[in-house]
């Protein structure tokens, strides 16, 4: 009440900072402010979750679970949200924990995390050697699906950095902080991820062209 009465109807939620919206929701019970926060960051959070779990329905569940946890934490007078102006990073951390919990139950994260990221060939030697059909590659939307499949095949640490950088739009410093590693490690993971993606795409294209030619 105090917040809305102070700023009245002039409070422009769409241009307000994350921190102002959090304050409006926590201090004044401004439900619309929280809606703006969800809509502002839904693509970043959902894109990250989808890339992590590779299942849209699961990603939907985790997305909802993440924001319900956010509401519960904010209801406890901000709860664990103590980092001013870093709402997205805080929310992504909750989303990451939810995704990791899910993956642990499915034993998918541990199965792949034994790969040595410095040894590129060790992972790629284990990849299934099935090239995608040429008509799928040529199609733009399917090319994107192909790219997503390539991302899915990356080692977990590399995939996570790619998702946090390209889906959640975090800086490398924020990624390093979130994943509890040094910025050099985060950069190394990103470099190997990009090189591996490029190699996979080229090999698949080459294989497909070879099959078409024969």
């Amino acid at each position: 009440m105090a917040f809305t009465s102070r700023v009245g109807d002039r409070f422009d939620r769409t241009s307000a900072s994350d921190e102002a919206l959090v304050s409006a929701y926590v201090d004044s019970g401004d439900e619309s402010a929280f809606r703006v926060l969800v809509e502002r960051h839904q693509e970043r959070v959902f894109g990250f979750l989808l890339g992590m779990v590779r299942d849209r329905s699961v990603a939907n569940d985790l997305f909802q679970d993440t924001f319900i946890r956010v509401i519960a934490a904010l209801q406890r007078r901000r709860g664990s949200y103590s980092q001013q102006g870093r709402f997205l990073g805080w929310t992504l951390r909750i989303a990451r924990n939810a995704a990791l919990d899910y993956l642990r139950t499915r034993k998918r994260w541990q199965d792949m995390s034994s790969v040595n990221e410095e040894d590129e060939t060790s992972f790629w030697e284990r990849l299934p050697d099935d090239g995608l059909p040429g008509d799928e590659i040529l199609h733009q939307s399917e090319l994107e699906d192909f790219l997503r499949e390539c991302i899915d095949r990356l080692p977990p640490e590399q995939r996570e950095v790619v998702l946090l950088r390209h889906e959640a739009e975090l800086t490398f410093r924020e990624i390093a902080e979130m994943t509890d590693c040094s910025i050099n490690t985060a950069l190394g993971r990103m470099r190997y991820a990009l090189l591996n993606l490029r190699r996979l795409m080229k090999e698949s294209t080459k294989k497909d062209l070879t099959e078409v030619g024969s």
């Binding site: 009440m1 929701y25 019970g29 509401i71 410093r173």
Partner: protein, 215 residues
């Protein structure tokens, strides 16, 4: 940080990037690295963003609404009255005991002062009475003025004034003057045998005999 990671930072426009990208790309190996990374990044940059189901946001807002209402209701209730501050017993006892101790000491000192003020005239009077008989009078068996020996009435018992009586002083002075020519001794002189003093030890007296035996 090696140059390859620096190339990556330049590629993403990161503020932590060091040096100039053009100078880095003069190295063929780094140029090749830059091309490879840029190619993969280009594909990633042009991926479509995924959105959750539209109904999800409404479900989340349905969860957020009661919380917002609770917060708003909390504000409508207004400020609660101030809570009575809990004071631990120790924080009350220490000042109270301190104040009580100060009061007891103050009362005690006051009582002691009253008592000493009452006792002082009597003790002074006793001291004066003890000093009322001069020692010279005892040695010389001089009759003492009976007025000095008699207890003074309380109303006139000022010890200082008693010594200021001119007659007593004059009496003492006369006695001292009468003693001076008769005695060859004086303070600070060398000690001499008693029998050498004329008139003090006549031959045959007990004092004279004691001196002879001593030799």
């Amino acid at each position: 940080m090696n140059q390859k990671k620096n190339i990556l930072l330049h590629l993403y426009g990161d503020p932590d990037a060091e040096g100039d990208l053009r100078s880095l790309l003069k190295d063929p190996e780094l140029r090749e690295e830059h091309t490879a990374l840029m190619e993969a990044k280009f594909r990633l940059d042009h991926m479509h963003r995924s959105r959750p189901d539209a109904a999800l946001v409404e479900r989340i807002m349905a969860e957020a609404a009661p919380a917002a209402a609770a917060i708003a209701a909390g504000h409508r209730r207004g400020d609660r009255p101030a809570l009575r501050r809990f004071r631990p017993l120790r924080r009350v006892l220490i000042p109270a005991v301190s104040i009580a101790a100060v009061v007891v000491v103050a009362v005690g000192l006051g009582w002691f002062n009253i008592l000493t003020e009452k006792q002082t005239p009597e003790s002074n009077e006793v001291a004066v009475r003890e000093d009322a008989v001069p020692p010279e009078s005892l040695l010389r068996a001089t009759p003492v003025n009976p007025d000095l020996m008699a207890p003074r009435p309380a109303s006139t018992a000022d010890p200082l004034l008693a010594w200021d009586e001119a007659e007593t002083i004059r009496d003492m002075y006369r006695r001292m003057e009468s003693m001076r020519p008769n005695s060859p001794l004086d303070w600070g002189e060398r000690s001499v045998p008693l029998e050498s003093i004329p008139g003090s030890a006549a031959p045959g007296s007990a004092l004279h005999q004691a001196g002879v035996q001593r030799r």
